[in-house]
Symmetry: C2
Subunit: 299 residues, 2 copies
Amino acid sequence: MRALARAITLVERRDPAVRELQQALRDRVRPAYVVGFTGAPGTGKSTIVDGLISLLRKQERSVAVIATDPNSPFTGGAILGDRIRMQRHALDPKVFIRSMGARGHLGGLSLAAREAIRLLGAFGFDPVILETVGVGQSELEVAAVADTTVVVLTPNLGDGVQMIKAGILEIADIFVVNKSDLEGHKRVALELRGMLNLSPKAAWRPPIIATAAVRQEGIEELWAAIEAHRKHLETTGRASAQAEKRLKDETAEVVAEVARERARDALGEDSKLSQRLLQDGTPYEVADEILRNHIMNSE
Amino acid sequence: MRALARAITLVERRDPAVRELQQALRDRVRPAYVVGFTGAPGTGKSTIVDGLISLLRKQERSVAVIATDPNSPFTGGAILGDRIRMQRHALDPKVFIRSMGARGHLGGLSLAAREAIRLLGAFGFDPVILETVGVGQSELEVAAVADTTVVVLTPNLGDGVQMIKAGILEIADIFVVNKSDLEGHKRVALELRGMLNLSPKAAWRPPIIATAAVRQEGIEELWAAIEAHRKHLETTGRASAQAEKRLKDETAEVVAEVARERARDALGEDSKLSQRLLQDGTPYEVADEILRNHIMNSE
């Protein structure tokens, strides 16, 4: 567990050693199934994930949770809110919980998450649950990495326009309406169903699961829906197509990250370059010069 | 106006013509002051921005609004919610409102926004208001691009842990507590003040502005706070330091974007490369090969 925790810290720091580590573990890599959870703050994602951990542990499965935390680029450290909530699993060696931030730069979160997921798979954790705060870019990143994306709503969320605005219809494989004891619960499910009926027909129709996570209600139904979606991906051949697409996406991101770092180094070291940049007022010419002179792999 | 609208469509599409356009307009570039608005869905950001437009038009200023929309990578088109809300300014030629999505890939939103802002500045719009949905990655992107970042909360938002979790303390230059007629309004402001008191002392202390945007209350105070922050940045020299940092960030992003696109092209065209990738199971060796053979500028 400690080796794994350290390895993930290296991933977060974008340490070059990660690369060797991943290559060394290559033969052990068994891709874990990735379930993404997203939704606005306060919808109860952590409580649902906590319930899911309990369920999966009863089935003797090793489960890992990565809670990605968008605030970390500024603080250099992730807030422990999620870990606090899942504390009761802290001593279970078959449960690995980690808050993870995208230090350094934007867009780094999905790359770090992909690398961490590969490590967790090599260490035998399956499924890996990816939880993210917020409605927005982070949601898209989860959907780009997860096999099954679960969007959590509550009766409090607000009107339909807000839901469309947040773009959740397109990314959700499963909807959870949590806090199903609150008033307005059925209205949200109805509105959601209405909007789904308006969207073009697809091979997979996202189910809407009602949960009351604080009382562990609906968690088994949720897991059954996740398993059904997994089976759907496998029988339709989408699973392997997605895996290939993801590996290509990740490769393009690795290339972009290397290029970005070399550009930053060049701009930091070469004062003539930054002077020209300020004179130009636009980035293009200097970007070209960097691509010509600094990006080539210097091995 | 139509030329500008078309230019921004090119920016959104990541069309190579943008580059020539920006270079042609270079002498006209006068950087606009950028005010970012962020907050959870339903907090009333659009209504506040609408009020701000009215105030700025009374001062005879040209104002542009870019509402970035995280759902667009999936739909290929931005939802018009924001534009609907600001409809009453639609016929005013000194007001430019545009919903903008990050088509194609993650992280493209901030680059597209930066380019659009430069275009808007060249066309005489100042300030440019950048509004984003959501709490999460998109919030960080706004903070990375805006001169002044305004975070909008409401009494509904939930407890303090949620606020910290969303990472808003670090990115906000100004807090707005909107819907100041609702119960709990003073409690939110108090909690916020308490948390700010715990953070390390800084040269700028984010003010907390109470608004009831639907009744246009507090909008003048908000604008005064934005102007005060602008003055703070200028007198402390942080304005020019930020401008330099942003231009460097943008250059590194342009380099990363070019590299990413070339990597995608290479993976799409070269079937041996994707075969090797699937065999490897990790992206690193293929990424290296792409950096060696495909990224060099082939001018």
